[in-house]
């Protein structure tokens, strides 16, 4: 019998997240996916960095590690290398993983270590009050981009693909069924797998950019998500304001800890 409560630290609730935030939807999808995979709680290690997304680790009844800003993947790498039988899941955000922690993100993908990374992309620094992030669309406002951002954005999934990750997918909190399916596949993948999840921040991003409340932002996500297939038919200009969702990469590749074990075994 599946029960959310079995996986939650209910005494730590209410959640820190604002009304309208999508992070709670990801939490539920994640729990369902972990359950589907049949992981035992003792063997799951959930590692997070700093930011709104990263507070998730406090609410789940696993071995949980809330690290420093940007470094979650490095701590997770140490855990996985030391104890490869553990299921190591990283929970991080756009600022945490691709700004301050960008180097670790691409190197973990290149190395192909068996971690599952859930990357909450809310396009803003929410925890610190709405500063511009590497995924804040150009022209959109933030406290540190009061006239609209003058910069280009990172394509977070694209970054992982280019760095060699064997599983990369993008979904939205407006489509939790799809999100859960992708997380499920990512957990099954032996290798570095990324699920980028678009999640609205009505408090620090939506309000400043007049995008409405959480529900309005969810509606926007729903109306503007296009599958990879449909995206092929659209021009770059038409895609500019869209969210392309789907599984971009799903291949098999040698995983670094498994390869290292071969070295250990040879030396025996």
């Amino acid at each position: 019998m599946f029960e959310y409560d079995y996986y939650l630290r209910k005494s730590k609730m209410p959640l820190i997240w604002c009304p309208g935030c999508g992070d709670g939807i990801i939490l539920k999808s994640l729990i369902r996916a972990v359950h589907k995979n049949g992981f035992t709680k003792d063997n799951v290690v959930m590692v997070s960095g700093i930011g709104c997304s990263s507070r998730l680790t406090g609410y789940v009844d696993f071995n949980t590690l809330h690290t420093t800003h940007g470094r979650a993947i490095t701590y997770a790498t140490g855990i996985k290398l030391a104890k490869p039988h553990l299921n190591v899941i990283v929970v991080t955000g756009d600022g945490d993983a691709t700004s301050i922690g960008g180097n670790h993100y691409i190197h973990a993908a290149r190395r192909n270590i068996d971690l599952t990374v859930l990357l909450f992309n809310n396009q803003i620094y929410g925890m610190t009050g709405g500063q511009v992030s590497p995924t804040t669309p150009s022209g959109k406002k933030a406290t540190t981009a009061p006239y609209g951002s003058s910069e280009n954005i990172f394509n977070i999934s694209g970054l992982a693909i280019a760095a060699g990750a064997p599983f990369v997918a993008r979904s939205t909190v407006a489509n939790p069924v799809q999100m859960e399916r992708y997380i499920n596949k990512a957990l099954q993948k032996k290798g570095f797998s990324v699920v980028e999840i678009m999640t609205p921040c009505p408090t620090t991003f939506g309000r400043r950019n007049k995008l409405g409340a959480g529900v309005d932002m969810l509606k926007w996500q729903k109306e503007n998500s296009v599958s990879i297939k449909s995206a092929e038919k659209l021009s770059p200009l038409e895609l500019d304001e869209k969210i392309v969702t789907g599984i971009f990469v799903d291949i098999e590749k040698p995983e670094c800890r498994t390869e290292y074990q071969k070295v250990i075994d040879q030396l025996k």
Binding site: T74, L81, N103
Partner: protein
Amino acid sequence: MNKISDNVKILSGNEACAHAALAVGVRFFAGYPITPSSEIAEVLANELPKYDGVFIQMEDELASIGAIIGASLTGVKAMTATSGPGFSLMQENIGFAIMAEIPCVIVNVMRGGPSTGLPTLPSQGDVMQARWGTHGDHQSIALAPFSVREVFEMTVRAFNLSEKYRTPVILLLDEIIGHVNEKVVFPSENEFEIINRPKPKDKDNYLPYDETVSDIPAMANFGTGYRYHVTGLAHDETGFPTNNGEKINQLLQRLERKIIKHTEDIVQVEEFHLSDAEIGIIAYGSAARSARHAVKLARELGLKAGMLRLKTIWPFAEKQIQDFSDKVKIWIVPELNMGQIAHEVEWAVRGKVNVVKYNKVNGEPINPHEILECIKENAHV
């Protein structure tokens, strides 16, 4: 490494450090190449897989320290090695290991700074960074060996202290100590003590930061059935973040107390001709090698010189220095920096004895004769 017999070898300080790490049970190393420390990584890259251990070269020093903290949380003894610039990059996460009480050892083979400085030349410029490099109030444990043999002993000791007190320990070598080749007699397994972190017994009532039994709480390894939360945020005994002033104060006071109360156990010094000395020298690391020779030369000239050698840099040997400050007429503090420890000595003696600094920051070692001159100059003051 040249082998004289099975347990007697000629090797460098860096090599001795790596071999001692294996002997004390280190099974995880993460690091990033940097002169003059890289031999430690190279030896462990070669050896660790033979011991069922893991070596990984990470993308930078931030990643290296993150990985060793992660590995240590699963119960594996873990270390990294670096030099000044890399040590700077590690500071934030050293603070995490202090706050979350995760044992690990960071070796810093010091070179000249600041910045890129003098990659291949010795310095002792990081002793204060070892004390105050990470932000916030905290205690620090740092050891400084002065010979290859002592590198071996102190690497073992660094892990023992780290496990015993659940805190990162910094092993300060310098370019000379890291690269000098000397004879080491490898102790056999039962010849040295190995201390492991305190283990919890009760799964059901486990409180990861419980201070009711001891200032050093029992540490459960990740993946062994104790599911708990670890954070760098101020936390209470459950491990979860708290904003309760009383709980925050309780945590920070305990972290301070667990080191301060055990200063006697942690601080080690060595006396050299000090019992009747009028001219005292306080030195550590490679500068202590020169100072020891200078003391011998001074004694040949009939000058009553002696040395108090700091084997532990932090916590500071305040009591030991004060004890001898009743006997010596002067302290000379030779260092390969601008006087970082001399200031601590001045503070420790509280004006009772004059403190003379002898400093060198040009990348050259201190010549014993330079210290001898300094002894002569101050002999009849």
